[in-house]
């Protein structure tokens, strides 16, 4: 059974954001990695790219599926998880420990539109 973590914010398209100060760490949920199976490639944005809540910022690919990544927040990408370039399977091993991009949030209040862990669990049922 897929797990969730309290304190993170979730989107219906199965991304999460972990907020630390003015930054947000964005990744895909444990449920999403389970559905995808073996992740073989993550198409990540570039540092300094602008991302917008509700819009695509990359894609995650398994052997038999590919799915767009939809940003749960708006802002500017300040860092990407370079480990994923060579080890995309880290997402399968620990989805919540493996963020994809770090975003400087332009509107921290946006997270209020996202789901709580409990609401997200309901949404996956």
């Amino acid at each position: 059974m897929a797990k969730t973590i309290e304190g993170l914010y979730y989107s219906e398209s199965h991304e999460y954001v972990k907020v630390e100060g003015e930054y947000g760490y964005v990744g895909i949920t444990d449920y999403a990695q389970e559905q995808l199976g073996n992740v073989v490639y993550v198409d990540m944005p570039e540092v300094d790219d602008e991302v917008t809540a509700g819009e695509e910022f990359g894609a995650v690919e398994s052997v038999k599926a590919a799915s767009d990544l939809i940003s749960p927040v708006s802002g500017v990408v300040v860092e990407i998880n370079a480990d994923l370039e060579d080890q995309p399977e880290l997402i399968n091993q620990d989805a919540f420990g493996t963020w994809i991009m770090k975003v400087k949030l332009s509107d921290p209040s946006e997270v209020d539109n996202l789901l709580s862990a409990a609401d997200y669990e309901n949404c996956c049922k």
């Binding site: 073996n38 073989v40 490639y41 690919e61 052997v63 038999k64 995309p88």
Partner: protein, 493 residues
């Protein structure tokens, strides 16, 4: 099978100094490539192998032994219509009066070729109930793209520029939305009802003055005839859109029901499915596009026309959507389809469709006690199982259950090609079976027995299926490794 040769690549058989060609002595003294400016010439040698003729022949012959075709055995690959490819077709297509024709030679020296092309256009028009066809598109997906270009051109010529959306059912082949995207259209998805057909109530609110048209496959990808097609066509026409028929599943309708009569305006046909031309390991195919009267001007250039005096001519029509091929498409495939059309004639073309439907239903009835049949109706040329029934394969939610993939791999051990698996996406364990009309009752009975046997193996010897296939030239492959450690050329091995 010659295991000594198995697995060697042609590059590994290369011996410096060997040659596999024969050319005349160079008789053009005084002219040499060395005269060209050095900076225009290739630097370094090519990787091409050096092999003698027999080495090459054995190489490919042994490779062919690792392949499975319709001529090898039963190939019930759903949605692909793997019917028998008659050999007379091949004989006709290899006649030198066709193969030696240069596409730039003048019309009056290629009248036979143009007449053949024209005759196929006309035959397809009659079978489809449409006014005019082009045979220029190279494949089914290319036909879809061409057909959508016709639809966009039609709206543009009327000055109606806001129609930028196309409706596609959620059960459609992946090529439908992909072709629409290449054609610059936005996709609007319409849902299916639990019985697998288009949900008319879901469709209604989608219709408006921004809709260019709707793409449909009928029978659809579940092998079910869309009985509401008259209403759907009426609704789409009322909103100003055109109806596109994906001819991938035309085979069962041959002579029974024509797309033009169902209300479709534009369609493509896959000659490599319905008209028996070989699939060739993926191609070349051919995807003729037909249109109703009023749209024929928009078909791609060049267009083949017959003059009143019976002379055939190539026309570049200024009203056309443009060109989708440099010449007349895959002419060699058109010759094969013509041989098939002549062989079957008006008497047997309708029989092909009916027998394909009979064969599909016969298998379905025999196997539905063993495999889960989510929609139990009279199917057309194909049907979809949603994996093994629970009493044989286990609960679908149990990660160790016997999957459709396991069944497919086990079928290979018994000498059959697998059905199409994991499509359509409406079911998790989809297994789409299309036998075609060219298979005998005896072949079907044997296949049915094997499918039953596999169901029992799934119940009693699960590991046997999980590790299948056991008797194929290679075993299950590591496809994760293929993506994560990509090797696309010999040099990178």
């Amino acid at each position: 099978m010659n295991n000594t040769y198995y697995g060697k690549l042609i590059f590994e058989l290369s011996t410096p100094g060997c040659i596999g060609y024969s050319l005349p002595e160079n008789q053009w003294s005084g002219h040499t490539l060395e005269d060209l400016p050095a900076n225009l010439l290739r630097e370094g040698e090519t990787i091409l192998p050096e092999v003698d003729e027999l080495t090459a022949v054995r190489h490919y012959t042994n490779m062919s032994n690792n392949n499975f075709g319709v001529d090898t055995g039963f190939y019930p690959l759903g949605s692909c219509t793997m019917k028998y490819n008659p050999k007379i077709n091949e004989e006709m297509a290899s006649l030198p009066g066709f193969t030696a024709l240069h596409p730039h030679q003048p019309e009056y020296t290629a009248q036979g070729a143009l007449e053949l092309y024209y005759n196929v256009q006309k035959s397809l028009s009659e079978i489809a109930g449409l006014h005019e066809f082009t045979l220029n598109p190279f494949a089914g997906a290319h036909g879809e793209l061409t057909g959508l270009m016709v639809i966009r051109t039609y709206h543009e010529k009327r000055g109606d520029l806001k129609r930028t959306k196309i409706i596609v059912p959620d059960s459609a082949h992946g090529t439908n939305p992909a072709s629409a995207a290449v054609c610059g259209l936005q996709i609007v998805e319409v849902k299916s009802t639990p019985d697998g057909t288009v949900d008319v109530e879901d469709l209604k609110p989608l219709l408006g003055d921004d809709i260019a048209g709707m793409m449909m496959t009928n029978p659809n990808t579940l092998g079910i005839f869309e009985t509401k097609i008259p209403e759907i066509a009426r609704l789409v026409h009322e909103c100003g859109g055109l109806m596109y028929y994906d001819g991938a599943n035309l085979n069962p309708m041959l002579g029974v029901c024509r797309p033009g009569d169902m209300g479709f305006d534009v369609m493509h046909i896959n000659l490599h499915k319905t008209f028996s031309t070989p699939h060739g390991g993926g191609g070349p195919g051919s995807g003729p596009v037909g249109v109703r009267k009023g749209l024929e001007e928009y078909l791609p250039n060049p267009q083949v026309k017959r003059q009143e005096d019976g002379y055939f001519t190539l026309v570049n029509n200024p009203e056309s959507l443009g060109s989708v091929s440099a010449f007349l498409g895959n002419f060699g495939i058109v010759i094969r389809a013509y041989a098939y059309l002549l062989s079957l004639g008006k008497e047997y073309i309708p029989m092909a469709g009916k027998l394909s439907v009979l064969n599909a239903n016969y298998i379905k009835e025999h196997l539905k006690e063993y495999y889960k049949l989510p929609i139990d109706v009279l199917c057309k040329h194909e049907f979809v199982f949603d994996g093994l029934r629970e009493e044989y394969g286990g609960d679908h939610h149990d990660p160790s259950h016997v999957t459709t993939l396991d069944v497919a791999k086990r079928l290979l051990d018994y000498g059959y090609h697998a059905p199409t698996i994991y499509f359509p996406l409406l079911f998790h364990e989809a297994m789409m079976i299309e036998p075609t009309e060219t298979e005998s009752k005896k072949t079907l009975d044997e296949f049915i027995d094997v499918m039953k046997k596999i169901a029992l193996e799934a119940r009693d010897q699960r590991e046997l299926l999980k590790t299948a296939p056991h008797h194929t030239p290679v075993r299950r492959l590591d496809d994760v490794k293929a993506v994560k450690e990509p090797k696309f050329t010999y040099k990178t091995l």
